[in-house]
């Protein structure tokens, strides 16, 4: 699936319709049909650019192949909103955001890599191999969310996918380099966290006082540089 994601041509030509549901009376969630891949996400970015221009929309939150549109007021014609979203999705051309490339130095292994051993066991790979697969990947920021400046990164090698924990770690440090299912990311807050930590990064991801508070933006490319490997 990850490989297919890099090529738009590999997407099936027949589009099934996206799902649209309500969260309360003022927010509508559009889920893209099909795979969790870059092609779907590019259309979500295009859709976001369209919908954020609508005069009755106050906020747009792109997620992982989905978009939450929050309206200024409860719409008078909710069915009309659903039709507009479906139309906008049908018209949304895939866009390729020219993002920045962000290099994140990582200290793999060591005290912060609390879940590296479990990932080795799950994957059947050595710790060296897990770390190599992680830092050799090239990742795309799909969306920001959950915590301030947290980027959901797509492009993780399927061999090191690892489900989120059913019981989260109670206190994971800000800066832990983590894997959650088929995604990876860098923890931005110290606290409970259900993702699996394999290393640590010092680079600050968020500054509330800055004009642009978040380091990452959707469409950016992220590379992890193995600054130190401690196994």
């Amino acid at each position: 699936m990850t490989r297919a994601a890099t090529s738009l041509a590999s997407q099936p030509l027949i589009r099934s319709r996206p799902g649209i549901s309500a969260i309360g009376a003022r927010a509508f969630l559009l889920d893209a049909p099909g795979a969790f891949d870059l092609a779907a996400q590019r259309r979500i970015w295009a859709l976001t650019q369209t919908v954020r221009q609508w005069p009755d929309v106050i906020e747009t939150l792109p997620g992982m192949t989905n978009l939450l549109a929050i309206f200024k007021a409860v719409p008078e014609d909710p069915d009309g909103v659903i039709s507009r979203l479906l139309e906008a999705w049908e018209r949304a051309e895939s866009i390729d955001i020219k993002g920045r490339t962000i290099d994140i130095p990582v200290h793999y292994g060591g005290a912060h890599a609390t879940d590296l051993a479990a990932l080795c066991k799950l994957s059947g790979l050595s710790d060296r191999e897990v770390v190599r697969l992680h830092h050799q990947g090239t990742y795309t920021v799909f969306a920001l969310g959950s915590a301030p400046g947290f980027g959901y990164l797509h492009g993780l090698d399927p061999r090191i996918h690892m489900p989120r924990k059913t019981v989260p770690s109670l206190r994971m440090e800000k800066g832990c380099v983590t894997i959650g299912g088929m995604q990876t990311g860098v923890a931005v807050l110290t606290g409970p966290n259900g993702w699996n930590s394999i290393g640590f990064a010092d680079l600050p991801m968020f500054d509330p006082a800055a004009a642009v508070p978040a380091l990452m933006a959707p469409g950016d490319i992220v590379r992890f540089l193995p600054e130190r490997i401690e196994l």
């Binding site: 939150l61 007021a73 995604q183 508070p213």
Partner: protein
Amino acid sequence: MIEIVDTGPLNTIQDLGRLGYRDIGVTVSGAMDPLALRIANLLVGNDAAAAAVELQTFPVRIRFQEKTAFAVTGGGTATLDGETLPPWWMQTADAGQILDVGPSKTSARAYLAIGGGIDVAPVMGSRSTSLRGAFGGNDGRALRKGDVLRLGSPAAGLRPAGGFGVVPPLRELASLFPVADNGALLIRALPAGEHDLFGPDAERFWNEDWKISPQSDRTGYRLSGQALRLTVPVEMRSHGIVAGVVQVPPGGEPIVQMSDANTAGGYPKIAGIVEADLWRLGQVRIGARLRFVRASHAEARMLDGAIAAYVNDVETTAGQVGRALTAMAGR
């Protein structure tokens, strides 16, 4: 300035929230009962969205260091130098006077607005405290004994010497905010994305009472009751959420996300509470019961309209009182 002489934990500076930054993962925060915050502000002549103090643990004691108008709304019982104030009331305090606020039996949170608003630096357009993000409000933290808060410039216009108040919204709009015969709060919601995947349990969600568990705070409320199960497992992708979403984690007991909720989530969601009922939820106490009532967009609009009319009424009246007193003083 006002001085926090004594306070419980987790009392914070809040306004109507940090809007417009959810797409970079920034929690909205803001008052759990935004209606009470707006009314408190209007009573002292502030913009309805000014920063005020949200009180959720008591007792709280505050010393006024200058003469200023103040109002206490929401839950909480207030006394000024030992004299009891009516609920939802504004008054003018002299320098040195002491305001005590204690808990209310029925509501969880009180709001203290001061003429001119609480003057802390806005962060990303809001003065709300984000405890988890450690920014906003007073250094990104809860208020502590000894804190001294600066005030903004109050609006011109006189206020009645004996103070004045408003009819609380639950009384004024009683017919629109019903309670079940057994005392359970009736909370209106719309079915959300995974509602139908709960099969017969979806009906139970609407028909049974849920209890607010002790694991409830500004981030979210965990509800106790008979667990809800999906009929088939579902693989969810992280998506944006808003306050009021009712999610069902694997344990089966629903969670209602509140003001300090994350901006994204991935648990199956069974319903989304209409915004017009969120302020009531912000006032429920641990152990209270609630029942969900299926609502429509049209009902949500009607409720929003009724709340807007109530707020507008308070704003007009407060303005008229101020203007009338100023005119009489100038005669």
